[in-house]
């Protein structure tokens, strides 16, 4: 369907753990439509991060196909995957992963530099993204001078500044206290509702799940429960 941002069909991924094969994903069929806020939940080892990584093109499935915004990921080279991530996806990592030698605004701006946008437009869009996340006045501070919550906001600003089709978040609340987590989730929901950003978050935090409109539960590499299916049913 034209509105499908993510389509996974029969996705399988096996890891070798000390020569022992571990089936991380077992024929997962999964679709995310435009404007959804989906949480991927499940215990450790259930496959939620693996699913997020294969959708983000950071990992390749052993079998099955993945389409993101109509592009078949299996057919892309490493460089083409890089270009796709740059143009269509935003990432929010558990450990923020800001570049310590760049200021907050430069951390947001560098994604736009990779896209080749002119300096004036970059600066304007970076500042607007930081303002939207409430850290505009901290634009010139380096990550070491920011709190965990502030760093995660800058990381979200970096993820949304390119206006991606899909925002992927891997345990976004893992290093945050509950107040900051709530603020962050309110922000993500606001982005989802006001800007229509499609969000897919892997988490085992019940608070994140409660903010998501759709909850997908994974167990042993398979989708055990999907609130969308329940709703249809």
């Amino acid at each position: 369907m034209a509105d499908d941002v993510v389509v996974c069909r029969g996705v399988t991924r096996t890891y070798q753990d000390d020569a022992v094969p571990v089936l991380a994903l077992q024929g997962v069929d999964f679709t995310v439509t435009k404007g959804e806020f989906v949480s991927l939940a499940g215990p450790s080892g259930s496959g939620k991060s693996t699913l997020l990584n294969v959708i983000g093109g950071l990992d390749r499935p052993d079998a099955g196909g993945i389409h993101v915004d109509g592009v078949h990921l299996n057919e892309l080279s490493e460089s083409e995957l890089s270009d796709l991530r740059l143009s269509k996806m935003g990432f929010v990592f558990q450990a923020y992963n800001l570049i310590p030698v760049l200021s907050a605004s430069e951390n947001v701006e560098f994604i736009l530099q990779l896209q080749g946008l002119p300096a004036a437009e970059r600066a304007e869009r970076a500042q607007a993204a930081l303002d939207a996340l409430g850290v505009g006045e901290l634009a010139h501070r380096r990550p070491g001078e920011l709190s965990g919550g502030q760093q995660q906001r800058v990381a979200v600003a970096r993820a949304i500044v390119t206006e991606p089709v899909l925002l992927l978040a891997d345990e976004p609340s893992a290093n945050l206290d509950s107040n900051t987590t709530e603020e962050l989730l309110a922000l993500l929901r606001s982005l989802n509702e006001t800007r229509g950003v499609t969000i897919l978050a892997a988490t085992h935090d019940p608070m994140v799940m409660s903010f998501a409109k759709r909850r997908v539960q994974l167990r042993d590499g398979m989708i055990a429960e999907d609130s969308a299916r329940v709703a249809v049913a």
């Binding site: 950071l58 890089s82 796709l84 991530r85 996806m89 990592f93 450990a95 570049i99 030698v101 560098f110």
Partner: protein, 404 residues
């Protein structure tokens, strides 16, 4: 390729570990400065040796009768028109001189020696060592001067001095021996003892009269500077003197020419040794820097930085630190050469220095071409040193890096 971003990241990363990068920078500066100073000394040695060879009555090119080098006698002479001059532009020609140079026996009241008896026009000898050496007594005044000048060492051997008389015996143009008495006008003090022992000078017209022939045995031509255009003057002389031999200084002084080439090779070998040692330090530092930033590089790849840009970032860091090191190294080397001033006095090792065909003062020479070569090759080595760390950086899988 986002060059501005990569430059910005590379510059700031260099300041991330100030002490470590300062140590590396110091090593580059010392290595480059060492190469610059040693190169300048080797160039000084090289060109001093060339100058000594060229000034040794050789010139950059010389005209000789065929067979003269094997049998340097008056029979191997030729006539030279009074109005001849080499076909070289004035701004390229330092000077030229025609001479008679024949073997002779010299006798004082006490000793006898074999020498090279050389008839010269002293006005033209600014191109040879005779024009610059110090004389005790007087130098020769003209081509018609009937006196002789001899070297200090020969004067000692003959146990004679300025104002005394000597007898010289040599072969005339008719094949018969000629003998004549000469008063010593002056005693010269050359850089090499060998020169002082071998060469005895008189006016060319006096020697022509002695051998009874208005001939010369050689014409030397010296060009301005280091003799650029040597081959064209050689060709021009060969075209004019088509029945004579025309040789350049490398052919006349093969040992000095070989040493000249050896100095070039020595400079390159020294450079390779210094840079080779430096590369290991550079590779080690860059790998450490890459490994420390493995998560950051993984994130950059994850958000869309292409593998080529990651390579470029590592290469740029290496090139940047190398470029700064090269500039500072050249500056330090240049200051050291300035500090050396007029040169290094090697007179304590005079004998060995003379054997190498050098003078007792080693003057460093700094050439722009050498600096450009050192800078260019250093940057190239910096680039080469960055390739392995860059390869390691690009092999990092974003997912593996982010999991760390």
């Amino acid at each position: 390729m986002p060059l501005k971003l990569l430059t910005q990241l590379s510059c700031r990363n260099l300041f991330r570990h100030k002490r470590r990068n300062l140590m590396l920078l110091s090593a580059i500066v010392v290595a480059v400065a060492g190469v610059v100073v040693l190169n300048s000394l080797l160039r000084g040695f090289q060109y001093d040796m060339q100058e000594a060879a060229v000034s040794n009555l050789t010139g950059h090119a010389k005209v000789l009768a065929p067979g003269y080098l094997d049998d340097p006698s008056i029979e191997k002479s030729f006539q030279l028109a009074k109005d001849w001059r080499p076909d070289v532009a004035d701004d390229q020609l330092e000077g030229w001189a025609a001479r008679i140079r024949i073997p002779a026996v010299i006798m004082s009241e006490r000793e006898t020696r074999g020498v090279q008896f050389v008839g010269v026009d002293p006005q033209r000898e600014s191109i040879s060592f005779l024009g610059s050496v110090a004389h005790r007594g007087e130098a020769l005044q003209s081509a018609a001067d009937r006196r002789v000048v001899i070297g200090e060492s020969l004067a000692e051997q003959l146990d004679t001095d300025v104002g005394r008389r000597l007898v010289l015996i040599t072969q005339g143009a008719d094949g018969l021996n000629r003998e004549a008495g000469f008063r010593i006008a002056g005693v010269y003090d050359a850089d090499g003892e060998n020169l002082e022992k071998i060469f005895v000078f008189t006016g060319i017209e006096r020697l022509q009269a002695l051998v009874d022939a208005e001939v010369v045995t050689e014409v030397s031509v010296k060009l301005v500077g280091n003799g650029a255009g040597e081959s064209s003057i050689k060709d021009s002389l060969a075209a004019f003197f088509d029945d004579l031999d025309v040789l350049d200084w490398q052919e006349l002084e093969p040992q000095a020419a070989a040493m000249f080439l050896f100095a070039d090779a020595a400079m390159f070998i020294w450079f390779l040794i210094m840079m080779g040692a430096l590369i290991f330090g550079l590779v080690n530092t860059l790998i450490t820097a890459v490994m420390e930033r493995i998560k950051e590089l993984g994130m950059l790849r994850a958000v869309g930085m292409r593998p080529g840009a990651v390579v470029m970032q590592v290469v740029m860091e290496s090139t940047l630190i190398m470029a700064v090191g090269v500039v500072l190294g050249i500056l330090v080397g240049w200051l050291f050469i300035l500090w050396l001033g007029e040169g290094i006095d090697l007179s304590r090792w005079a004998e060995g220095v003379e054997m190498a065909g050098m003078r007792s003062l080693l003057v460093p020479r700094l050439f722009m071409n050498d600096l450009v070569l050192v800078a260019g090759l250093s940057l190239f080595f910096g680039f080469v040193a960055s390739l392995y760390p860059a390869w390691r950086a690009v092999k990092i899988k974003p997912l593996d890096a982010l999991r760390r």
